[in-house]
Amino acid sequence: MNTQPNHANDPSLLELWYNGGLDLTDHLYIPVEDEPQPAEKYRPKHNDAVFARHLYRYARVFNVAGTVLCILFSLLMILTVANLPAYGDPDAPTVNEVAERYVEQGTAETGAVNTVAGMILDYRAFDTLGESFVLFTAVAAVTILMERKPKKKVRRAEVISYAEDDIVRVVSRFVIPIVLVFGVYILLNGHLSPGGGFSGGAIMAAAPILYAMVWGDEQASRVFTARRIRTVVVCALGFYCAAKSYSFFTGANHLPSIISTGTPGNIFSAGLIMPLNVAVGLVVCCTMYSFYMYFRRGSI
């Protein structure tokens, strides 16, 4: 099943057919291993050096073709954008009833002062659900590709401990809480000001990554264990799925929803948007940290 043997001169169907390889009177099975190898002079005259020379010649053709294609394609695309509505045009087709409703009634209908947050987490929430699952898929795929057992013994010379440096240690101790608090602020204010789950989560992820860089991967993997990371991701995504299923199901079946929008502008308002931002932020934070650890170390 998994074995992929290198057979000398496997014939293609055409060669078999042409050389009469399918001899219907031949009832003898000849094992492949015992077949006489064709003599040296019948083999193709290729060797690695000749092949490489051919290949590099093709590579030059590739460069020229790439440049020509790039220029032609840019010309076509420039013609196309010249045909688009003018930049900054207030009468462009994109400024239609859809954008108008998002801006004019968005605050009343979703409770979010930040129209973009209201749009991505309430009006077009299915897109954003898919987007979070793109991240989840990527994390699982990177785990498949990069996960390996961490080396038991690391040679002393390879370990550079930044924590022995006073400046780095003190500054990191000072910076990590600030980064975390700033990330949480961005996360919780997603419906009120620029920000939200994705940006806040990315900022928050800087804190554990900095921790791992300064105090070493071993220490970081003792604090942020794989089990904890996995639990956080699964809980956050499960909550996201459950909340959005409820909202989609009630919306489509015209059932009343128990979620109120609250007073726009308050921190506890906008219905599900703030909890969803927190869930997305946690997922993004764990994702970024896992990417870092898998690339750095091969395991969380």
Binding site: C70, I71, N83, Y87, D89, L145
Partner: protein, 134 residues
Amino acid sequence: MQELLNHLNNLPFNYEEAVAVILFAIGLSMLLFCRNLLKKVIGLDVMDAGIFLLLADRGYITGRTVPIIVDGVTEMEYYINPIPAGLVLTGIVVSVSVTALMLSLTVRIYKTYRTLEIDKLYIMMTNWRKGERE
């Protein structure tokens, strides 16, 4: 010809979009024709950056401000279009995920073959003396 020129009447206004699509074309050509895997990944990100720049430009309206409602003013003529911003956000997240996957594939290939040049990989894969071809 006249018709084609009529098509182009917005070129002086749309120079930012022109830059964006040139970036897109450069990234696309890098992704297809560069002979190094890492450069292909860089090309992928350049290509995505071009798309996001174009999308962000499409949302801008001259003289208006970000679509965050202040002081209860909800008329559309004060705010830019919020939809492209949301689409760019989604696109960036997708781009990050795809880049991570491509980079991990690149790392694995480097660990297996100790090279990132497509030509060398191809030579190693297509070992002519063993007659092993697709």
